[in-house]
């Protein structure tokens, strides 16, 4: 655990040593703002909640999180620092966890910096702050799931662009799997069990519930187990790739 923390600390410092952190946070804040106020019609709805704010998070994450995740491993392999890292006395699991945590915490920082909108909605009305806390928690968990997918894809290639595109595609499938667009494809031939399973993998469906303040432990468990699964695959990919 100590090594995980040391690696995470180094990674996180790395974000802020480059323009990456600034660019990401500014764009994230600008886009959440734009989506909330224009597409979400924050004022016009006349309701004191953050539903129009949270509703667009899956779509923002779809683009922005693969962009943060793409460099996690691909860059290390490209510059050769992977060899340095993996010959230090750390296990692959510690390295995978450390890198993931740094990236996830970084997203958490960006998410936390949206706090002015929480203040705004409290000034304008009397929102249910419990629902908002649930929304933030759900958004953070979903960001983790996107990030775990992205980290795993980044380990598969030394080309960051390829890592980005594959990660965005996989994230897209997970996001959309609850919608008719995807489900119709399965309805035609698959038994209901499979259709339900595919639907249950959907980030949108899960997040929708959490966003409305319904924190079902199953949804929390879903995101956490998804993170664990992709990190587990990430460890395997790193092991396999470095020996080939």
């Amino acid at each position: 655990m100590r090594n995980t923390w040391i690696i995470a600390k180094r990674e996180l410092a790395g974000y802020f040593a480059t323009p990456l952190a600034l660019v990401f946070i500014v764009i994230f804040l600008a886009l959440t703002g734009a989506f909330t106020f224009y597409l979400g019609d924050f004022f016009g709805r006349g309701q004191a909640d953050l539903e129009p704010f949270f509703r667009f998070h899956p779509w923002l994450y779809l683009i922005l999180i693969p962009a943060v995740a793409m460099r996690l491993w691909a860059e290390e392999r490209k510059t050769g620092t992977m060899e340095l890292l993996m010959t230090l006395p750390v296990t692959t699991t510690e390295a995978v966890l450390g890198k993931f945590l740094a990236a996830w915490v970084f997203c958490g920082i960006a998410l936390a910096l949206t706090f002015p909108i929480w203040i705004t909605v409290n000034v304008l009305g009397a929102p249910d702050n419990g629902v908002i806390v649930a929304g933030y928690l759900g958004s953070f968990l979903m960001a983790g799931a996107f990030m775990a997918i992205g980290a795993c894809m980044s380990a598969m290639t030394k080309n960051q662009v390829i890592a980005f595109i594959i990660a965005a595609t996989v994230c897209f499938l997970f996001t959309m799997s609850g919608l008719e667009l995807v489900l119709n494809f399965f309805h035609a031939w698959a038994p209901p069990l499979i259709v339900d399973t595919v639907a249950s993998l959907s980030f949108l469906v899960r997040f929708d519930a959490v966003m409305r303040g319904v924190i079902d432990l199953r949804d929390v468990f879903f995101f956490i187990s998804l993170i664990a699964f992709w990190l587990f695959v990430n460890v395997i990919v790193v092991e396999v790739k470095k020996s080939a």
Binding site: I7, R10, A17, G80, T81, L84, M86, T87, P89, A244
Partner: protein, 324 residues
């Protein structure tokens, strides 16, 4: 424990390519082993396996008694490893990079500062200490890599081309550093700069096509060159013929041949090559004195590492491993 690194039948295949083929050897404390071979010979692959980065296809590598396959963390803790190209995290400053390495190496508190200061002095990083690594010159980057590898004062040091891309002064510094650490450690360096082997190594192995072709001291390898211990004599061209005939008649001398290019300014040069590679400088000198000939110049050749290298790596690849 004298054998600090033990390789047993170490083999690595990438698909159909056998990069390292059944290599066995040991390295003990106090040795500086030069790992020689043409590009693509398997030097780096071998080092990566010992350092725990690549998993061997067959065979084992043991460092300080730990099998790299079974106890990779113990091996990695015991080794200082400089990967090829000395990769470092470019966006970190030298200071924060070395601090990070110290933390990962298990140091804490004030010890981190002590360790970092120690290597900062050893490899002379003062003037760039607070600059991001990516802004440094190639020579400094390599020294940062070097600093990283010796930070924990490891018993075993493995360095893949530590002086590649350095200027002559920097090369000299790095070699001095290696020599200074040699007594306490087992050091393996790979290189294709052959002068380096003579400059720092107590032992050299030559590897080509993944196979170990020669193993011995630099002196032993040099003795494989036909010119090893040959004596070159330069003397006035008009007095040369009887002397050459006399030298040819000496029992220790195999042949006497004029050097390429013929006489220059009335001075002819000849090379007397010995039988069996033994030193012939004494009999040649005695003969010249007995004939009252004063040579313009006379010196012993040691042989060329380049020639030995070419001879070993270009000839029969299936040649068995033998002590030189």
């Amino acid at each position: 424990m004298t054998d600090m690194i033990v390789l047993e039948n170490l083999t690595k295949r990438f698909g159909a390519l056998t990069a390292v083929d059944d290599v066995s050897m040991t390295v003990g404390r106090g040795e500086v082993l030069g790992f020689l071979g043409p590009n693509g010979a398997g030097k780096s692959t071998t080092m990566k396996m010992v350092a725990g980065y690549l998993t061997p296809t067959a065979g084992t590598a043991r460092v300080m008694g730990h099998d790299v396959g079974q106890a990779p963390l113990q091996v990695k803790a015991a080794i200082g490893y400089l990967p090829e190209g000395a990769p470092t995290y470019g966006d970190m400053t030298v200071q924060s990079f070395l601090k990070f390495i110290a933390e990962v190496r298990g140091f804490s508190g004030a010890e981190i500062g002590r360790r970092v200061d120690r290597v900062r002095e050893m490899v002379a990083l003062d003037e760039v200490f607070t600059r991001p690594v990516e802004t440094l010159s190639k020579g400094f980057k390599r020294r940062v890599g070097l600093a990283q590898s010796i930070l924990h004062d490891p018993e075993v040091l493995i360095m893949d081309e530590p002086t590649d891309g350095l200027d002559p002064n920097q090369k000299h510094q790095v070699r001095t550093l290696i020599k200074d650490m040699a007594a306490e450690k087992a050091i393996v360096i790979s290189t294709h700069i052959l002068e380096e082997v003579e400059a720092v190594c107590s032992r050299a192995v030559i590897i080509a096509h993944g196979r170990l072709l020669a193993d011995g001291t630099p002196e032993q390898l040099l003795s494989r060159d036909g010119r090893h211990n040959a004596v070159v004599v330069k003397l006035a061209a008009d007095t040369a013929d009887p002397v050459v005939a006399g030298l040819r008649a000496l029992p220790e001398v195999a042949a006497v041949n004029p050097l390429d290019g013929g006489p220059v300014n009335g001075v002819a040069a000849f090379r007397a090559t010995p039988k069996d590679g033994r030193s012939i400088v004494v009999p040649v000198g005695d003969y010249l004195r007995s004939e009252n000939v004063t040579p313009e110049e006379m010196y012993v050749e040691r042989g060329q590492m380049d020639d030995v290298f070419r001879q070993i790596t270009l000839t029969d690849q299936s040649e068995a491993v033998g002590d030189a």
